[in-house]
Point group: C2
Chain length 523, copies 2
Amino acid sequence: MKKLTLTAMAISLSISLFAQEKADQPTLQKIRQEGLENSKIMDIAFQITDVAGPRLSNSPGLKRAQDWAVQQFTSWGLKNVHLEAWGEFGRGWQIDKYYAATTLPYYHAIIGAPKAWTPSTKGPIKSEVILIKADTITDLAPYKGKLAGKIVLFDQVTLQPLAPSYKPDVVRYSDSTLNKMAEAEIQPQGQRSPRAGAANNMMAQMMKMRATRAAMASFMKDEQVGMILSYARGSYGTFFTSNGAPYALNATPVSPELEISAEDYLHILRLLRAGQKVEMEADIRTSFYDQDPQGYNVIAEIPGTDRKLKEEVVMIGGHYDSWHSATGATDNAAGAAVMMEAMRILKTIDFKPKRTIRIALWSSEEQGLFGSRGYVAKHFGDPKTMVLTKDQKKISAYYNLDNGTGAIRGIYAQGNTAAAPIFKEWLSPFQDLGATTVTLSNTGGTDHLAFDALGIPGFQFIQDPMDYNTRTHHSNQDTFDRLAEEDLKRAATIVATFVAHTAERKDQIPRKELPKAPEAPKK
Amino acid sequence: MKKLTLTAMAISLSISLFAQEKADQPTLQKIRQEGLENSKIMDIAFQITDVAGPRLSNSPGLKRAQDWAVQQFTSWGLKNVHLEAWGEFGRGWQIDKYYAATTLPYYHAIIGAPKAWTPSTKGPIKSEVILIKADTITDLAPYKGKLAGKIVLFDQVTLQPLAPSYKPDVVRYSDSTLNKMAEAEIQPQGQRSPRAGAANNMMAQMMKMRATRAAMASFMKDEQVGMILSYARGSYGTFFTSNGAPYALNATPVSPELEISAEDYLHILRLLRAGQKVEMEADIRTSFYDQDPQGYNVIAEIPGTDRKLKEEVVMIGGHYDSWHSATGATDNAAGAAVMMEAMRILKTIDFKPKRTIRIALWSSEEQGLFGSRGYVAKHFGDPKTMVLTKDQKKISAYYNLDNGTGAIRGIYAQGNTAAAPIFKEWLSPFQDLGATTVTLSNTGGTDHLAFDALGIPGFQFIQDPMDYNTRTHHSNQDTFDRLAEEDLKRAATIVATFVAHTAERKDQIPRKELPKAPEAPKK
């Protein structure tokens, strides 16, 4: 298969092609001025993070943030503003009290959080911490009848001491990294990883581990254990949350479970391994919300004005939900705020787009891109069968932002060789902001995939990593403090121009070949 | 004044001088083997940190650690093992419970700790957080009568948002930095900073600020404020403690005061500034220990065996006390453990020193080098009058370790030009450990200064900074996890050889000119 690089393509496409690729100059000028000089990005981000709080799927925090967005969109004069159900998610959940400390060998307050969707302790509890050495369910037999009300910690023999990090927490992409991205070859579509065998093997192991874990969880629940302590990745007071307990309305009940900072976990583990008695007290209260199991996205529009083209749509979005141990500033209040600010900019400069512009703030991205997948399933078709709706053809492109607070440095063309040179042209005015890279590479893990899976051009921007991977992504330290104002301003400005270009362009954004259905269409 | 560099000196001193500078080769060999291959350093550090806990001056944690050290020294067969009072310190203090969280606009558990020596809250408290805008005591007038039982936070207008750090948290010294240290010129003794005027000015400002603060603290106490929130430097869940409240037996009572992480403080501050209501709950319990206000050092010896020289002493030490929000692993369990391990090594290899070797684990270093200063005042003389005891002449040298967990890279000769080449020679076998740098520079801030002030050669080793300045020094993250095993092993080995050399050397370590008395001797 012939491989193309972007540079080769860019040269092969003549300038004449680009005449139709631009929104008009005065519009671009106004976007830039409003975005860089009258930005409201930090006010928006403040509301989503500090004011609304953690935004776990279907939690009161997410509801607060959604209600605020509806009110905000309405006050800006957007149309068709509404919460739109995408399907059944399950129960909401939030923390009402977190308190945990060792009381022996001495008092020490513990940094941590209950795992999402785990229940309260039976009021304030106090117990010796029991070290459990068990890799399999049969290893648990000796503990039977001894754990009721007890706080337990598993001796993870493979757990390594924390290693010092000689690298900075916060990084930006270097020119050379960006150049490599720009030169990346297109990944042939449908090509599977060459190590599919290894992946299957890993998957089998994971399934086995998951089964063991489920059996152990069930044992713990039956034994009426007081609380389980879990190791949370991270260091220096930062900890990362992992997947919580099941959130389905009919989920099997689990034990109270705390994720605690690596330092606190290792502290207790070292003491227990040395035969020291460790005692803890804890008081965890969590609430479940079962009343409305539907999940919702926030939708709003700037209606198109062209007689023909207004039926077509440019979509932008980012997920609005977060994990529970912080206010999800970089994951993904940042992306949501940038997209909201892009809408505000376009509305404020009184842009009258040919095509309709629609923003979607997704929910339940963290549990599996549910909000965006539910939305596209409802509106555009079924990715399993590739039976598509009429509306699938009307979406010119979807642009997503969900890689933290870092400056936009360009865009992932997601293997769309025809779109790439168009984006290259659109980014050319942003040389001063360092945002000119177009890569054919795919990027995954977020909501543009839901569109891509249905053959709708879906893109995610390239962003400087900052401290996303080292400190903030799913951590207790994903707070407003992490937001880089200048980067976010610029991001909103760039996104707004992409939206304007896409809305004004004569043709829709070119599409890749339609993905093949993994399942045959149902009759 | 002629300035000397160490390189120039090293060249000018002929090799003949060094014949007497060495302990015998088999002893050095045994030290190296025991120190690097049979190390007990991590066991020792584990006891001081994880098992004993935080070791604030006169706290039960320090007492536990001291009792353990006495028992450990005794079990190793050291002599003259005892706790020795250095003078009156004041009250002990410890945390018995720490719980704080916002409850409005939503629930969020706060990372923090009570300031050392602050009192308990009046049981569990719950209150709106009141934003106080006041730079002077008169600015407080409008708050009179409104703060009883309330949680308050000062609007520090100069407080900056947290800035991203593009530098690594953990660093080691580069060769070029070490070379620069080695080339440092001697700082002429008694020379004051050229900016004494500026310093006086700063001091005056500080005194004024301190007076304002005291007046404000008194206002808060009189108003029976429920709790004061203080901004703690740091980021990502790490916070640094600062000086606490007075610890004297007759200290003026203060209000309960929490230091909370920068993220949590700024979170509340942003909300309050935006006019959002913030409510908090807290339950702080602290205990004071007034029974024995004396401060103690732990002392132990390996007695000298030479008929004449055994009256002379080589001293090593490090402070044993810590701050309260962690287990003080790098400040200074590391240094204390290294010094203890050095004693263990020397005892284990059955070293029979000519001079007596004495270890001192100081207390109350954190409040002003009180343990070491009290000790030298009792044994060696008064630095204010420079009236000296007979014993002052008997201490050949004092070696200190208190700059974290980092590898020893050399030693600060503290302006002692005659000692420097001796140390250079002693370090020459440690090229493989990267520990060969001798600098004439002074280093301050720790217990060797107490000796230096009385004309006794007192030295501190050069150590790789690691994360001492960025993450651990006085922070809630100064835990066992931060200890670098290999570095500590090597440090103990190097220190043990310094002790052996000093114990065996024909002459004492050469002395600098005696400091001049800042006050005339009392009659």
